[in-house]
Amino acid sequence: MSGRVLVVDDDQSMCEMLELMLRRDSLEVEWRTSGLDALELVAERDFDVILTDLGMASLSGAELCERILGIRPDVPVIVVTGNASFDAAVASIRAGAYDFITKPVDAKLLSLVVGRALQHGQLRQEVKRLRRAVVDTQRFGRLLGESQAMKRVFDLVTRVADSDASVLIMGESGTGKELIARAVHAQSSRRDGPFLAVNCAAMPGALLESELFGHTRGAFTDAKAARTGLFEQASGGTLFLDEIGELPIEMQPKLLRALQERTVRPIGGNVEVSFDARIVTATNRDLEAEVDEKRFREDLYYRINVVRVDAPALRERGGDVLLLAQHFVERFAARSNKAVRGIHAAAAEKLVNYDWPGNVRELENCIERAVALLRFDEVTVDDLPEKIRQYRADRLVFATDDLAEVLTIDELERRYIQRVLTLVGGNKSRAADLLGLDRRTLYRRLDRYGGVRERAK
């Protein structure tokens, strides 16, 4: 652990004992035996956590707690009380305490409670910082992000924007592929030209063909007038073909030809029309696998995949979760005319821990719902959907760029065992074989990790 802790107790022995315990957790510790001295210190220096006795001579703990929070509303205060009564607990929580522990103080419990308070405080600071960051961050088009993963995207987009190279954007649903396509357009010299987007999955082949290439008058029954295709309309700008992996196989050679020749022939026409549009495509499918399965033409794949941009999943974006959450809070609060301060630390913790299979879109929906349900001036845990409140992180993160995502070896092992057990449908002999453990060792680990066995059933 790291952090600076202030201990306040009119019993110096208690101060010294707590100092000794906390230093063993590598924390920096200051102590004062008077509430008034503690207040002066709090006014001039930052502390990450404050521990205070409840019944002191000069200034009661509850009074001190209130006055500390008056000066530093963000510091978690833990009340240490000699009285394990419900009334004492209520009094401290009413005074704004984050938590309380009773004397005699157990070293392990102290470590746990202080650790949790530190994390809470850090999240609270982080949420605050993000509120400023949302305003200050240099926007990349409508893309928002500070994570290494997103910085790589911004960097790549900046470098390819000015060429006319075809860009293929790959990523899970909800990762903002269209926003990346728009950013490519906005960063390019074509930014004053049109940006046209078409979803290849949204219409049948024939209709898509007419949309893309256009048609002459009378080309087919309903073609009462000639229509210019999107390739031509996008001239001087960018044409974005979303869900390219869904492009019907019979359309693929036609698209390939258009991209090679840089001309299109409208349906029913006999003249080739040249176009000058930059082509950006996107898909959430694994296109290489589609090529292997002969569902996607290899030559077309190489034609569209001159530069490939991977849109990172939200769970790979570390702190961006809170940055985006804050951004959405502000957007939806403004839209619904609510005064929302931000996200409560406990709720922030839930958001950070969740794995976001639906990515940014899921986060956006979650925050929209939370703001709609909001009862206080902050998004709290209760405003989040059940599955996010109940979620327990079992994600395996080996190659992380984010310090906040670093796991302990134990936790990594727990999650790995969990993952393998899930893969083999809970068959422990098989799991033990795969893991290179004997059955008994596996059982011992499962016992140690408690929850794993339950979840693997």
Binding site: D10, Q12, S13, L20, T33, S34, L36, D37, G55, A57
Partner: protein, 258 residues
């Protein structure tokens, strides 16, 4: 399985405590006896802990780190404080039952005060408070119960340190008829509403920690020595603007040896 399922289960009513019949209040002598035995029972395990700690210290003397030594100091302090509680209980038992007697002998009063002050700072130190002991060179011959009088001074000094802001001071003044031991602090003083019950026992003091037994015992011990304990205004510079600290004065009659 069936044969083994006759496990003992608590009856539902066992979850709530059974009603305890209230007893009539014991007579003061029995109560005093009780406190006396309690103090005695407390002292013997305390003696064991003290001895055990001292043995540990001797055995591991060479390998002790600073942290170990601090732990030792904290344990010592804890033991001394428990000892004080035991003393308080037996004194209380004697005072309440009327069996209190002084065991007087000729002593050096200056030395007694000096040791009492040292004991106070060993038991309940406060880093932020400077405890000054400003005594004339001794000796000052007197006849007193060393243990009890020393205890009275210690209690008042501990009280002063606890309520001081930055400084507490112990002085001794001689008049032709009295020795005046003055224990001052630069705290907020005693609120007028508390002054009347300052030396009474078993009165709750809302904003104070502890039982507040120290001053009442000190008072009785001083009175038993034909002296008096009075509250005056501190002459120390105030710890906070607009406040005047407390000065507890023990006045003991002295016989001029001329």
């Amino acid at each position: 399985m069936n044969a083994r399922s006759n496990s003992i289960k608590p009856a539902p009513e066992a979850e709530a405590p059974a009603a305890v019949t209230p007893r009539s209040a014991p007579d003061p002598t029995a109560l005093a006896d009780f406190f006396g035995s309690l103090a005695h029972d407390l002292r013997s395990p305390l003696g064991v802990v003290t001895e055990a700690l001292s043995e540990l210290r001797t055995d591991f003397a060479s390998g002790l780190t600073d942290e170990h030594r601090l732990l030792g100091t904290l344990a010592d302090r804890g033991i001394r404080r428990l000892g004080r509680i035991a003393d308080t209980m037996s004194l209380l038992a004697a005072l309440e039952s009327g069996t209190f007697e002084l065991r007087t002998r000729p002593i050096d009063l200056i030395e007694l005060v000096r040791e009492a002050v040292a004991s106070a700072s060993a038991v309940e130190p406060r880093r932020e408070v400077e405890l000054v002991c400003d005594l004339p060179p001794g000796p000052l011959a007197a006849v007193a119960d060393v243990e009890r009088l020393s205890r009275a001074v210690t209690e008042i000094v501990i009280n002063a340190v606890r309520h001081a802001r930055r400084k507490a001071r112990v002085r001794l003044e001689l008049t032709p008829t009295e020795a005046r031991i003055m224990i001052e602090d630069d705290g907020q003083g005693v609120a007028p509403e508390w002054q009347a019950t300052l030396y009474s026992r078993f009165t709750a003091r809302a904003s104070r920690s502890g039982l507040g037994m120290g001053l009442s015992i000190a008072h009785d011990v001083v009175v038993a020595h034909h002296g008096k304990l009075t509250l005056e205004a501190s002459t120390l510079a105030p710890g906070r603007p607009g406040t005047v600290g407390a000065s507890f004065v023990i006045s003991l009659p002295i016989q001029s040896t001329g």
